[in-house]
Symmetry: C2
């Protein structure tokens, strides 16, 4: 009989309690699959007395999670506290300093310190598992790192934040404003009290930085991610998207280009008949393009106690089975410095919505601004008519260079007939 | 520097040549990812002189693939010959007898001998890799065996044969008959000269037997798979499916039920708005339902040199990295005997198309037959009217028991006004 894998869990929120519950309910199954027991030996959380509906009999309690990482009788520390620095980072460092493996769901920490943590794990002869950090229950890290290991990855993109996808889905279906839908999502527990990390695209960017590193073999570079969230998406834009045959999704896009690696997070117009356009509500989806496998798509629940616990446990099973793969697919020292492709040189199509005074010559002025920056117009829609209120004018362009597009929009914004900052959304060909 | 992983490839068809090409073009990448080189040391194929566009300089040639398995200087034998028995099986046995790992794309062999081969690999202290046997470029074996290892799998189903999916897609789009579309598919190389394994559902059933074993921890039991192919699907049924809000897909379905494990392959009506309904052409898709992860979906190319080579190489990368997981997730000796759920007790909805003489009383007779077997009618469509020709009558039922449904159809078939054998297609709630 092999000795059990001894597990210490720091953090007993939804995910931590889910991990404890999963390991208890699947104990026999996991023992058969791993050839040894997966045993929780220690836990740490803020409040000892709280009823979490889990049995912690015989499990050591630590008030201080860093003490747990240092002193628990454990082969692996599971860090489920979160935050780029603070206790989470101290736990990781303490674990590696003692040659213990770390399993974490902490994308913020990985986005800021991923390469250093991977190096520390390797130096300690142990591993860093983070399947739970990206796309919840979808085993996307394993798919890219192992399942597609024979491929050079050209592009990886997807819907990585269930809160944003839920809000955009409800906005589209109900024609309600962002602020109202967000408030409801907060009431239902789909959005945090402080929603900024989600709706401003930061959480998505954390995950993209991690995924891009793994896909492209580059050091994690969160600073190189261009980020825009969904606060400025209006029900009007969702309507126009439908009319033009698109859906609006907050996408994370990582791409290998001749100029370097592109990493961007922003609302996108995507063709309504592509697989990602149909991924609605809290679901996540990731598309990976490999040079031999072609495109593969992965869809599932991106958050929640069950799916995230499933991901954490997949890392624990790997450990128990003795599988040992470098965190980002190659040894940390071999991760190339990421050369960021300048977004100004990005080529693509664009959607622009203007709010204008309905007066003669507006369209001529707008068209001239586009022409002067060599932006070629694809379509123009001017639906409403009003002598008193602003009316929307919607334009789409042919492929153009981002820098020229931005200069054209800047010219347009300065026209006296244009009375709100233009809304610019990139159209992605997927 | 670690010693290279020495690889002998038996079979240099599309996939074998793809593997050689992939290993050559990604040599540096793979060395970085594995910490050692992946080196082809020997190959075997039927014709030595054929130009395959690959460089075999310095690679040993064997005319006999079994000799290659026995005598090549190799750590792993890659079997890409196919067939449930014959040389493929002899290669596998020879490899394990010498403690060599086996990587194979051979679903027929696994469906018939999977459990015994897994046991032989374990006895020899080596591994059996078969990522390429199911769903081509989609890393579905790894996802189920490792990525979802924390879950008890309730259900696994999908589109596992690109030829059938292509034919059904073209039939639906062009309203052409099966025979015509098949002939075209054969001309274009999407279907074999002998299409039976594909269109009669056998290839799909092979893959399902393998996937079910992995998902449910049961011994591979191909004999327990209920199989029907797509020859009897008519353009008329595809039309009615559209009208009723369905698509017709050849699905492989594995399900854990109170009566045992259900394994079936047959054309299904599935709601048009489910993810699988939109997987068209040669693509494959698999849905896996786990008790913690929930539903996850995997979509990609199910065949072709590049995608299948990608899958073969993922197994080689695992070997090179030293990962070692039992072929079916648990040691072969722990695979439970599969208790097959009797299909007669299956509960579901059904689509029935009859060709009838358009005369008074037909619907009353059909309704009476259904009532007598306690089958509850959900909808009825009788579109055409003709005094000379047969007209179609289409019925859908509420949930009912398969045995009762079959008895009702048997009664209906014997009505004098019903002039063709009824077409019965199961409706799947996905």
């Amino acid at each position: 009989m092999n000795p059990p894998l001894k597990i210490a869990v720091a953090g007993l929120g939804t995910v931590g309690a889910g991990v404890v519950r999963l390991l208890a309910s699947q104990a026999a199954l996991l023992e058969a699959r791993c050839g040894r027991r997966l045993a929780i030996t220690a836990v740490s959380a803020r409040t000892r007395s709280k009823d979490r509906g889990i049995d912690l009999t015989g499990v050591a309690w630590f008030d201080d999670p860093v003490e747990l990482a240092k002193k628990a009788d454990a082969d692996v520390i599971v860090e489920l506290i979160g935050g780029a620095n603070g206790p989470a980072k101290a736990i990781a460092e303490a674990a590696f300093a003692r040659g213990r493996a770390l399993v974490t769901a902490n994308k913020a920490m990985l986005a800021h310190h991923g390469t250093a943590l991977a190096a520390a794990a390797e130096k300690a002869g142990t591993t860093l598992g983070y399947e739970a950090a990206v796309a919840g229950g979808i085993p996307i890290i394993k798919a890219v790192r192992e399942g597609l290991a024979g491929n050079e990855i050209q592009r990886v993109y997807g819907i990585l934040n269930g809160t944003c996808n839920y809000i955009l889905t409800v906005m589209r279906e109900s024609r309600r404003r962002f602020e109202d839908v967000l408030a409801d999502a907060q009431k239902m527990g789909y959005a945090e009290a402080d929603p900024s990390f989600d709706v401003d695209g930061i959480d998505t960017a954390h995950k993209l930085a991690v995924l891009a590193s793994l896909a492209f073999g580059t050091a994690v570079d969160f600073g190189a991610v261009s980020i825009a969230g969904i606060r400025n998406v209006s029900p009007m834009d969702l309507d126009y998207a439908d009319e033009l045959g698109f859906r609006i999704k907050l996408l994370a896009i990582g791409r290998r280009t001749a100029q370097g690696i592109e990493q961007r997070v922003h609302p996108c117009m995507i063709p309504a008949d592509t697989p990602l356009a149909r991924v609605d509500g809290v679901f996540n989806a990731v598309m990976v393009e490999g040079d031999f496998a072609g495109s593969t798509v992965y869809v599932g629940r991106g958050a929640g106690g069950g799916p995230t616990a499933s991901a954490v446990v997949s890392d624990l099973v790997d450990l128990a089975r003795g599988a040992r793969t470098p965190a980002f697919g190659v040894p940390a020292a071999k991760l190339a410095k990421l050369q960021a492709a300048p977004l100004a040189e990005h080529r693509g199509r664009y959607y622009i919505r203007l709010m204008v005074r309905d007066q003669p010559g507006v369209i001529a002025d707008v068209s001239a601004a586009l022409r002067d920056e060599r932006v070629s117009l694809e379509s123009m829609l001017q639906r409403g008519r009003s002598t008193t209120e602003a009316v929307p004018v919607v334009l789409t362009t042919h492929e153009t260079v981002e820098a020229e597009m931005l200069r054209a929009v800047d010219r347009i914004a300065r026209l006296t007939s244009v009375i709100e900052p233009p809304c610019l959304i990139r159209i992605e060909e997927l």
